[in-house]
Point group: C2
Chain length 529, copies 2
């Protein structure tokens, strides 16, 4: 059986493997051929040595070259689209169409092209010039970035294809990608194309490197290594917090995107206006991707009422009637079962589902709906916020507005929070009471819209307060905003003009870069000192 090599310093080579692992097809529960190495530290060390050697080249490279690489990579992905979708489907059970082929793949190439455009444009650097004092500053590459991708978006958040990858490269940093163990073949295909694109566009050999898996302690050593610039991690809270602790001890920036239950607040007026539609809409959002979105709405908050009961009945019917999808992996299935059991043990009532299988193919779990009263929620708010990652949701029914407010005050940090309110203004007073509280708990506040769509927008925040992420000031989605995570602030004080980086020269280097000159943003030249 093929033992796959790793990509180090511009070449595929046999790993220094402690062992090997294989992926499973979650729909068939069959092992997929091909063995992937669990690397010993020497592989990581080789990647670090090469990346730190090439980091200065990338940091000072003409933006056009970086952009050309990203665009060539996007083209290559499109050429291999069919194989990528088929491979990812086999490893994750995500549907080829429309999900992988028509939604996630175009999103991925779009992100790469937006990152290319951002690199070329240069506005991401936030170049700032104080012409009177001759002090100038800009964001700049900070060194090799380790990227740990999640299981749920094998393309758009993939460690060698997704948003963190695109942002880190566009900011001028080499990437050391660590594959997600649930889809190694998909990651391998992306790495092959990234490698070839890098060769074609004459990038330094360590621009993109790939390791499949390491022991946990070696992952922790990687993110804390003196040569690392920063880390982007998307995945489980437990593994993420272990990496964060290791990175924090050495003062290395690490950006986490961990669990989030994405509270949805449905006010009484809107339930009266269109409760049945909302049950349909909510059911659709919470089953999207079999509930395996970072922004899947896992908790619904409502006031007790006849309309609330009708909404719950409507959702229950929808979940009962909907086909049961296959989960990403056996691990997701096991964790979902564990979470549902824990919610029930804490006192949530099972309304629908709650069983392994549930009629879905392979690794599946019945579409599940639970309910708890607000009073009981407040007895153990942390327990009821355990993320049930998958096709399950918890409805919390509060006695009154004050209890609803108290529940919101006990929410942990989340990526999103949403409030639906009546069109006729009947909910406005309650909205005004609750929204400021929810605002402090979430990165993105929505109105009248499910949170599952995460637009790649300059104004997006796919981030939020801990423990949804590790820092409330940064976003993982949105170009150029996501690039700011992988940059250091570089100030130049009295540095001779010809020695300044292009973006801080008096003359705007490309005529389109937005710079802050003496307090005003523009594309103008700076006044000569």
């Amino acid at each position: 059986m093929t033992q796959h090599p790793i990509l180090i310093d511009g070449a595929w080579r046999a790993a220094d493997a402690a062992s090997f692992f294989q992926a499973e097809n979650p729909a068939t529960e069959e092992i997929i051929p091909g063995e992937y190495p669990v690397s010993r530290w020497s592989d990581v060390a080789a990647a670090l040595a090469a990346a730190s050697r090439d980091a200065p080249l990338l940091a000072n490279m003409p933006p056009e070259k970086i952009a050309a690489f990203l665009e060539r990579f996007a083209e290559r992905i499109e050429v291999r689209a069919e194989e990528l979708s088929a491979t990812a489907h086999a490893e994750t059970a995500l549907p080829v169409s429309p999900r992988l082929a028509a939604v996630e793949l175009p999103r991925t190439t779009n992100q790469l092209r937006l990152a290319a455009r951002a690199a070329r444009d240069g506005s991401w650097r936030r170049a700032t010039i104080d012409s009177a004092a001759n002090i100038r500053s800009c964001l700049a590459a900070l060194g090799p970035v380790a990227v740990f991708g999640p299981n749920n978006f094998p393309f758009a958040f993939g460690s060698i294809s997704g948003g963190d990858f695109a942002a880190a490269i566009a900011a001028g940093n080499p990437v050391i990608a660590k594959a997600n163990s649930s889809h190694p073949a998909t990651t391998r295909l992306f790495a092959e194309e990234a490698h070839l694109a890098a060769q074609e566009t004459e990038m330094p050999p360590a621009t993109v490197q790939l390791i499949y898996r390491t022991a946990h302690q070696d992952g922790e050593r990687l993110v804390a290594d003196p040569r690392i610039g920063a880390t982007g991690y998307t995945g489980s809270r437990r593994a993420g917090l272990a990496l964060k602790a290791a990175a924090d001890r050495k003062g290395k920036p690490i950006y986490l995107e961990l669990s989030s239950v994405n509270p949805l607040v449905l006010l009484p007026g809107v339930l009266r206006e269109r409760g049945a539609d909302l049950a349909e809409e909510f059911g659709g959002s919470c089953l999207m991707g079999v509930g395996q979105f970072c922004t899947s709405p896992g908790i619904v908050l409502m006031l007790s009422s006849r309309e609330a009961d009708a909404f719950i009945t409507g959702v229950a019917e929808k979940l009962n009637a909907a086909p049961v999808g296959t989960l990403l992996s056996a691990a997701v299935q096991a964790s979902l079962e564990k979470s549902v059991v824990a919610l029930r043990d804490s006192g949530a009532e099972l309304l629908v589902g709650g069983a392994v299988g549930g009629g879905g193919a392979g690794r599946s779990y019945a579409n599940t709906l639970l309910r708890v009263d607000g009073g009981r929620f407040l007895i153990a708010p942390a327990a009821f916020q355990e993320e049930a990652f998958g096709n399950a949701a918890l409805i919390v029914v509060a006695d009154d507005a004050d209890q609803l407010a108290a529940i919101i005050d006990h929410l942990e940090g989340n990526l999103t929070g949403c409030i639906y309110s009546a069109a006729d203004g009947a909910d406005d007073a309650l909205y005004n009471q609750l929204a400021p509280r929810l605002r402090t708990r979430v990165g993105r506040l929505l109105n009248d819209k499910m949170p599952t769509g995460v637009a790649v927008s300059i104004a997006m925040n796919h981030g939020g307060p801990f423990p949804a992420t590790g820092h409330p000031g940064f976003t993982a989605v949105g170009i150029p905003a996501a690039m700011h995570r992988f940059a250091a602030l570089h100030c130049y004080d009295n540095v001779r003009g010809h020695r300044l980086p292009d973006c801080l020269q008096d003359k705007n280097p490309n005529g389109v870069m937005q710079r802050c000159i003496d307090g005003s943003w523009s594309t103008a030249d700076a006044p000569s000192a």
Copy 2:
């Protein structure tokens, strides 16, 4: 003897004191009358409760009100300037004139007024509007900010008067100030004026609160408390890293400004051109504030040459001839002695000074110059980078350019790094070899200028890679840049127009706020959705 109260929730009240401490006049070594409490946790808890109650009020307050408070505070400081300078002089031995009265006090009120202007202007929010998608985001207050001020700038970095304070308040956060134990009376005066200014401008009672000292474990508990938004700390590496570890464990942002040796590289050509002048200039910079600046140049790197020897002789003469200043405290004196002994134990040669006292009044230490060869430096690079906080500097003489480059590669993260090079271009090749290396080690790169001046500029970076600070993307000086530390990214997705914060409305709220609309910065209105 007076036992001083603490400022909690808008009132001066007796502390729940575990014990009391007193300040010392470092020039006379006499205890200054007045006892200051070491608070038990209950005081901190009271401050946290009040601050978290008032945080939403401040976060959503009209900017004009916050600006009015900051400006009124600045005026009150000016009225009490004489007493402030006299009090700080007694507690720190810093000269009243020009240092305290004519330099640091105006800098402090200037910072407060710049912060007021930034609050009013609103550009600090980086409001970003994607009009097509109706997604909008901005930076916003994140909750109570704990500020731990340093010993060396009792006004401009003071916990209830300095840059962190001004930035946190201007961004709409209440401040819980923890005084530096070396100048409690100075801090008390500022707190009195801040309190009165807050009353006069009708700010919420917990806008400014003051605790003098707590047990270390209670400080760690404070920065990790669920109610805290973020922490600003300036001080020693040991205490700062303990606070960072506590905050990191709970995912609370903490911004540190720790030690820095601020390497200065003098290239051969400039030493030939004006070595004698440089000796004078360097001596002045390294004795400024008795060497107790965060940006004091503690390490000089040179190539071995006759001119280097002449420079060293010149500096030695300058340090020998200069009066010996009084240090900030007995603790600074003891730590300086310890550092100099450690440098000598590691193999540095003592050229000048190296003794407690040295002819200065009170807590003083002889102006000290040490020297080590590059080869020996590279044997124990960490040992030679121990900050000797005070009037001491280490000169490192490298054998050749490659060794000089290797030394730079072994530097830890620093706030600043400076290269002096010849005007005639003779050093340009060497500059080009060394500057990119030094660039990655420092927050602010200077040319031909000593680092001891830290201009309050929009382009300043008073920050840098760990362990100089805790995150390389933020600055502690410069308005509005320093405010970004005390803010969270808030996104609004499909939120109804009248519910948006002013800064994200279609109409520019004040006509001067710089906003990024569909990718371009301007003061224009956004197109209606």
